[in-house]
Subunit: 167 residues, 2 copies
């Protein structure tokens, strides 16, 4: 396989993976492109490489910057803006985890708490509902706290975690 083919395959795969995990295809593809680029890339280049519109590129770059996994860079003597991706994978995973926790898990926990604390009266059905949603609340809270813990580890938390799990 030659370089250009491999590069394309990687960008496509990363894009497809993104959509399966609730991140839009273009956003994932731009991120992929920046990840494997050894120097900052201009918006023009991204549009050209991925064959997407200016608006789409702009919106998704903004989203990636909101997630904190893509940075703007300025080159001396250049009017245009350039972009780079967070390339450290531990850092990347932590940022994605934090963002999804904030956007999705925290609001879900709020709802779970609400519904699990209704007064259960005496029907078996209602008792089961309260029991099950309470358990779910505890589970999700525990999982979310685990994500928080990851962010406290300074370096290579994944490797260290695997070590611990293996005993």
């Amino acid at each position: 396989m030659e370089f250009k083919e491999a590069k394309n395959k990687f960008v496509q795969t990363w894009g497809a993976l993104g959509s399966q995990w609730g991140i839009n295809k273009t956003m994932a593809q731009i991120h992929a492109l920046l990840m494997i680029s050894n120097e900052p890339v201009s918006m023009e280049d991204i549009m050209d490489e991925l064959q997407i519109s200016r608006g789409n590129t702009s919106m998704n770059l903004k989203a990636l910057m909101d997630w904190g996994i893509v940075y703007k860079e300025y080159k001396a003597g250049e009017r245009r803006e350039f972009f780079t991706a967070e390339k450290d994978l531990d850092e990347l995973a932590v940022k994605i985890a934090k963002e999804r926790s904030k956007r999705e898990i925290k609001p879900a926990l709020k709802i779970l708490k609400e519904v699990s604390t209704i007064e259960a009266k005496d029907s078996a059905e209602e008792k089961h509902f309260v029991d099950q949603t309470s358990k779910l609340y505890d589970f999700v809270l525990k999982a979310d706290n685990m994500l928080d813990k990851m962010t406290e580890f300074n370096d290579n938390w994944l490797g260290r975690l695997v070590m611990k799990i293996m005993k």
Copy 2:
């Protein structure tokens, strides 16, 4: 909040959460409904409760059964089939993790291996590509193995894991 309202809120929230994580809304809603039901539910009841068509219900129940998180049940003297959800949350998490690993992570790893083993020639650009995709391969492999480890823990792996992380 009364029971009916809480129940509805839970089902809607679970459905929305599902779509954010690449699982279709109805599939997640059916699962939610079965999770909080203290007894097996018929297809008719699911259709009625969620206001969805027979075909949709059937397809998504099948998908849930393929994932191994919903079971068919037969009631004595009843022609109809009933359904129940896996209610043990550890078991549920393990099954979902296994399934997503099989469907998404394993194929992605295959591609990552392919593209990271191209011959890098001498350009800095190609060297960076190979370096970055190799690192990504290692990272994803490690994360996937972590999921595997979870499944080996017999009971309450999440609780134990949190204990370990906390030191």
